[in-house]
Amino acid sequence: MTGRTALAAAAELLAWWVALALLWLVFISTVDTLERIVGASVAAIGALVARAGRRAVTWR
C-alpha cells in the first residue's frame, strides 16, 4: 500500500465515520458522554463495514 492509497482509505473511513456519527446524534433524544462514546464506536464499526462492502463490490 503506497502513501496515496493509504490516504484515500483514511479519507473514505473518516467521511463515513463523520456521517454515521451525525446520524447517531440525530437518532438519539438526550446527549451525554456515554451516548457519545457508544455512538463513536458504532460509527467506527459502520465505517469499516461500509469500506469493506465498497471494496468487495468493486473487486473485479
Binding site: L23, L25, V26, F27, S29
Partner: protein, 150 residues
Amino acid sequence: MNGWILAATVLLAGGAGTALWGVATGPLSRRVVAQNLSTSVVCASLLLLAQGYDRTAYVDLGLLLAVLGPVGTLVFARLLAEDLTDDRAAAWGLTWTTVGVDAAVVVALCVAAGPGRAMVKLLVVGALLIGGNLVASRALSGGFQGVRGG
C-alpha cells in the same frame, strides 16, 4: 381521536387496502408493484400514528420500515427477475403519486414537530423512504439483468 390518527386511518383504509387488492390479484408484475407501494403507505401511517399518539419513540417503527421495506422489495426484484423479464413491472405514475403522499406527510409532521432533532430525524426517515421507494421501483423495472444462478 385527533386529526393525525384520522389521517392515518384514511391512508390505511385507502392506500393499504388498494395495495392488498393489488398484491392478491392480477399478474406478477402488478403484485410486486403493489408490495413496493404498501411499504410507503404503511410507513407514512406509522409516522402519522406516532404523532397522533404523541409518542416520539414510535418514530423508530417508521425508521425501521423505511430502512427494511425497500430491502424486502429488492429481495423480490432480485429473486423473481426471471419472471419479471417478460412483463416489466413499471408503474411510474403510481410511484410518483406515493412519493408525493410520503413527502406531504413528512413535511406536515416536520411543521408539527418544529425545528430540532426530531425534525431532522423525520427528514432522514423521509429521505430513506422516498429514495428506497424510487430505487426499488427502478429495480423492479429491469434492475437485474442476466440473473442466472446468482
